[in-house]
């Protein structure tokens, strides 16, 4: 019979108190787990967005605003940059260093989702989350020559319930009190979920995006002589500005990203930011501190639950002094009885830990569809954060610390006196 079994029997013997102690510890651990997982989700959600390209080139202004607007489709655009400058990236002085440059235009929404004007290469040449290629759950990418075609991010498609072949009209501005443009776009593709902000946006052909106002003029009979919706070249000539460009830099020789960024920033026309750095700064500055506060509170809760274990075992010591004395009389050493109490504490903490992991992950899993909808990050039941690995040794240490006092009481039990006392 192992000492673990002896400790386990003692736990069984005090079933109700042990259960309550385990539940209390479980709730504390569940809170820690939930904070860790939510932190992981927010971290991924933050960092995934800017992983498909090296630079964002946009109007001079706040670099955080540029990233929030271009990567997360939040806030308002800083401004626009001339299309001529974009051509510096593709065919001009930066072309040697630029592998891909994708223009993006903003300023319209549809049912609260940002409408982004771009080119088909956004989905055929850019990657997301490192090296993943965009895939279409339904339909296909829009063609450059079809100006009024668009594709939907997975979440945007699910929430707007737009199907392939259906049409929609963009709203000017943020959508609150904005004017609905008469020009319609046709859905030709629905992207597979990416777990990035792309899921929460609507993408249309950049030329159509710019043609919205002209098309409305056509309908109302203005400028009818100047526009023909099917003529790609004529429209492309009319694009004077874009909101930003997503740029992939050739990494030979290495370190060219910073060189290009510096060169752009030294000029007057635009600014270039490395999105992963800005995101990391934003995350640490805003979410990072909050995470430590939440984690601190969760750890405090677990510590209180740990003290609960100590109180539970310590309170039982007066009843168990006789039992300990009997074990000592049977030949158990002081160290042995001390170990039994410590093991009991560790078992309670580990059971609480297991319950907490189950509760924490269960709760997160139960909310996974909501989390996926809000952040695009899919959380599985068994998706653990690396930092959770410290939970087990952490709980053992906590249990050993809180079990020490009652274990010491067991160690100091006066056998002769306790045996004479009738149980």
């Amino acid at each position: 019979m192992s000492l673990w079994k002896v400790a386990w029997r003692s736990i069984q013997q005090r079933f109700l108190v042990s259960t309550l102690t385990v539940v209390s510890m479980g709730l504390g651990v569940a809170l820690v787990v939930a904070v860790l997982v939510v932190y992981g989700v927010v971290y991924q959600s933050f960092h995934r967005g800017g992983e498909g390209y090296d630079l964002i080139v946009g109007a001079k202004g706040g670099r955080e605003q540029l990233v929030l607007n271009t990567v997360f489709y939040l806030s308002q655009p800083v401004g626009n940059i001339p299309y001529d400058f974009f051509e510096e990236l593709t065919i001009g002085k930066f072309a040697a260093d630029v592998e891909t440059a994708i223009p993006v235009c903003m300023g319209h929404t549809y049912q609260g989702f940002r409408v982004v004007g771009t080119v088909p290469e956004m989905f055929s040449e850019l990657k997301y989350r490192g090296d993943k290629s965009y895939e279409f759950a339904q339909g296909e990418n829009f063609e450059a020559e079809n100006h009024f075609d668009g594709v939907l991010g997975a979440t945007a498609a699910a929430q707007t319930k737009l199907q392939i072949g259906e049409t929609f009209q963009a709203v000017h501005g943020s959508g609150i009190g904005g004017r609905t443009h008469k020009q319609t776009f046709t859905v030709v593709g629905i992207l597979a979920p990416t777990g990035t902000p792309v899921d929460r946006a609507v993408f249309v052909n950049m030329y159509g995006f710019h043609d919205i106002h002209h098309a409305e003029s056509l309908i109302s009979g203005e400028e009818s002589e100047h526009h023909d919706g099917d003529d790609h070249h004529e429209h492309s000539d009319q694009i004077k500005e874009i909101t930003a460009a997503l740029v992939c830099i050739r990494q030979l020789p290495p370190g060219r990203t910073d060189v290009v960024a510096r060169a752009i920033n030294n000029g007057q026309a635009a600014q270039a930011v490395v999105p992963v750095r800005v995101i990391a700064d934003l995350f640490e500055g805003v979410v990072g501190k909050l995470q430590w506060i939440l984690l601190g509170m969760a750890v405090l809760t677990t510590a209180v639950a740990g003290i609960g274990i100590m109180v539970s075992i310590y309170n039982s010591m007066s009843d168990r002094r006789h039992e300990i004395a009997v074990m000592r009389a049977l030949g158990a050493s002081r160290i042995t009885v001390m170990l039994i109490i410590l093991m009991e504490s560790i078992l309670l903490a580990l059971m609480g830990g297991a319950l907490g992991l189950l509760l924490g992950h269960g709760a997160i899993w139960a909310c996974s569809s909501l989390i996926a909808e809000w952040t695009g990050v899919v959380v599985g039941l068994l998706q653990f954060q690396t930092i959770e690995l410290i939970l087990v040794p952490g709980l053992i240490l906590l249990a050993a610390a809180v079990g020490y006092l009652p274990a010491l009481a067991a160690y100091r039990t006066d056998v002769s006196k306790s045996l004479i006392t009738t149980p």
């Binding site: 069984q12 013997q13 039992e323 050493s333 056998v415 045996l419």
Partner: protein, 231 residues
């Protein structure tokens, strides 16, 4: 087998005064011998058993068991020695409530030097007539059954000395003789020396040797030195 020499044990009372309990010039029990120790309540019988078992340390003197003076042993070694060589039957059985009858016997083996021997534990429980109650917990056993399990537990590690502290005091009259016979027979079978404390004349008269603690304990109130008494 058991030899006590100039054994002194005192207790400090709450008011700070010292209460002498044991002052035994000499006491011997031979290997395999069965003897009874009698005396009035509070004369130090249980304290003497505790000192012999190494549960309580004497102030001075020797406690030799099989040429080992347990008063010279470090506490941990003394604990192990007790587990290996001394069996103890308590008046109040002292079975551990969370364990079955079999587990109570196995637990005693756990603290000794060898590995727990399940077959011997079962044999002993069978020997004391408890084979049908092995998986029962103490709360599910009668008083007599509890003491029988306690006897099996005391013999688990093949001790050379069995200390029994009023083993029949809490057992009903119907089971008293049964317990006594059991202790008698098993000690004889395993050649275990027995020191049995009792208040009962009925119990005492069944043993060939009956010692009165007051007769050889100089701390006893009524102690009279033998040579003076003889004079």
């Amino acid at each position: 087998m058991l030899f006590l020499k100039e054994l002194v044990k005192t207790f400090t009372q709450p008011d700070g005064s010292v209460l002498p309990v044991l002052d035994i010039p000499e006491f011997r029990v031979a290997a395999g011998e069965q003897m009874v120790l009698v005396g009035r309540s509070g004369c130090g019988k249980t304290t003497l058993l505790h000192v012999i078992a190494g549960i309580g340390r004497p102030d001075s003197g020797k406690v030799r068991i099989d040429d080992w003076d347990i008063t010279l042993m470090p506490e941990a070694e003394c604990d192990r020695f007790r587990a290996d060589r001394i069996g103890y039957v308590f008046q109040t059985f002292n079975l551990l409530a969370g364990f079955t009858a079999l587990e109570n016997v196995l637990l005693s083996m756990r603290f000794a030097r060898g590995r727990p021997d399940r077959d011997r534990a079962k044999y002993l429980l069978d020997r004391v007539g408890m084979s049908h109650r092995m998986t029962h917990r103490p709360a599910q056993l009668s008083v007599g059954e509890k003491q029988r399990v306690a006897v099996a537990r005391a013999l688990a590690n093949k001790p050379q000395l069995l200390l029994a502290d009023e083993p029949t005091a809490n057992v009903d009259a119907g089971h008293q003789q049964q317990i006594l016979d059991l202790i008698h027979e098993t000690c004889r079978e395993e050649n275990v020396a027995l020191v049995l404390v009792t208040h009962s004349d009925e119990v005492a008269e069944q043993f060939p040797r009956v010692d009165h603690l007051d007769d050889f304990n100089r701390s006893a109130v009524g102690y009279v030195q033998k040579d003076e008494h003889d004079r």
